[in-house]
């Protein structure tokens, strides 16, 4: 299991070993401030990172940060 959560401290406290820092507490799995297509891309990136983490050993006291938009 991979958890996507903005409050990473709480997740790490209970020992989550595959953790992604979510966008915001009110909207964890995508950046709602973006236009529709860009938001979906942000969500795609979260989920793809989650799938990548499922294929690797877990790591406690650690969370991944996903880059949601490309520069430029």
């Amino acid at each position: 299991m991979v958890q996507i959560a903005s409050v990473t401290d709480a997740a790490m406290l209970v020992g989550v070993s595959r953790l992604i820092r979510g966008y915001r507490l009110i909207c964890p799995a995508s950046d709602f401030t973006l236009d529709k297509d860009s938001e979906k891309e942000s969500r795609r990136r979260y989920v793809k990172r989650a799938m990548d983490m499922l294929k690797k050993p877990g790591q406690k006291n650690h969370f991944e940060v996903v880059k949601l938009v490309d520069a430029g």
Binding site: Q3, A5, V7, G15, R18, C27, P28, K40, V47
Partner: protein, 346 residues
């Protein structure tokens, strides 16, 4: 002060109905003390009188609490108690749960104080410690003579309004309630003493207790995601309109499993009082990323997306409730062959 009326609740064994063979026995009422109520009555002295013993088989209550609890409440009502004492249940799990649920129900319906007693590890203790006073007992009935006087003492003071000290001092299971009481030393003095002890490596005791969590091994990596069945779990409390499984917006013990058709393109609502759910209600994919997971299935990158979202409400959920929910969801994973999940949290 007029003599207070006390009703006691006990199971079939302590009520002298029978042993495990009578665990399915329904309610019976005795209008005199029996079992632990005898000691309750003698401890009460002139303060109160046990006017009734409500006896119920452990299984009768545990198997159907939705009907048994109201039945018990109806029996209790006619006795107009000022105090309700259940058990003590020691380490008997069903009995402890039943004592806890009856205490909670009596307090809610009649607004009277309730007290029970359990061993710390009794499952009823964690579930009901905030709903009633649970005196710590030994794990067997050998501790009856110690437990009952403490239960009665707390019960009397709940009626008279006399001070009930913190759990550690009184010997009941902590209720996580914050209360002020006077000490001889100021907080600053106590804090400095604690700091000095810590710096010297001497023992000290924190005034605030922190929860401890069990350690779990990290699950191994998924060998082949292209064959994996993936599911979505969330504590964001977004459910079909009508909340079919009765999630609460705080302190919830319920959870639900919903097909995509029950969430997307239909009326929904959120039972979670801990966040502004505007954005996830506008587009549930923001909490349950079904759209992009379906893309991964179509691209052959994951084997299957399970058509079911497992939903709980994480606002102020107790650790034990969350653990129970997790175990139940894990069983559903086993039932459906789900090997991986994304958990979204708000």
């Amino acid at each position: 002060m007029e003599t207070k009326r006390v009703v006691c609740y006990m199971n079939q064994f302590f009520g002298q109905v029978g042993g495990e063979d009578q665990a399915g026995a329904g309610f019976s009422v005795l209008e005199k003390p029996v079992g632990p109520a005898v000691l309750v009555g003698s401890t009460l002295g002139d303060f109160g009188e046990v006017v009734a013993c409500i006896i119920c088989g452990d299984n009768y209550m545990a198997d159907n609490p939705e009907t048994a609890v109201p039945e018990g409440l109806d029996l209790i009502e006619k006795y107009k108690p000022d105090l309700f004492i259940a058990g003590p249940a020691f380490n008997a799990g069903r009995y402890g749960m039943n004592c806890g649920r009856m205490c909670k129900a009596v307090a809610e319906k009649f607004g009277i104080p309730t007290v029970t007693g359990m061993y710390e590890e009794n499952p009823g203790a964690e579930l009901y410690r905030k709903d009633t006073y649970i005196v710590k007992t030994t794990n067997s009935a050998g501790g009856m003579k110690n437990a009952v006087p403490k239960m009665v003492s707390i019960g009397k003071r709940l009626i008279t309004g006399e001070e009930i000290k913190p759990a550690k001092l009184e010997g009941y299971i902590k209720r996580d309630s914050l209360r002020n009481y006077m000490t001889e030393e100021y907080a600053g003095e106590r804090g400095i003493k604690m700091l000095l002890a810590r710096l010297k490596g001497e023992p000290y005791e924190s005034e605030a207790e922190f929860p401890t969590f069990a350690e779990y091994d990290s699950p191994p990596p998924i060998a082949d995601l292209k064959k994996a069945k993936v599911a979505i779990v969330s504590d964001g409390g977004l459910v079909p309109m009508g909340n079919p499984d009765g999630l609460r917006d705080h302190n919830s013990t319920a959870w639900g499993e919903y097909k995509f058709s029950q969430i997307f393109g239909t009326d929904i609502e959120v039972y979670h009082a801990g966040y502004d759910s505007t954005y996830v209600q506008q587009d549930p994919n923001r909490l349950y990323p079904v759209d992009v997971l379906k893309e991964l299935v179509e691209a052959g990158e994951i084997g299957e997306l399970y058509d079911g979202i497992f939903v709980a409400s994480g606002n102020c959920a107790s650790i034990s409730a969350a653990q129970n929910i997790g175990k139940q969801i894990a069983q559903r994973f086993k039932d459906e062959g789900i090997s991986a999940a994304i958990l979204t949290s708000t």
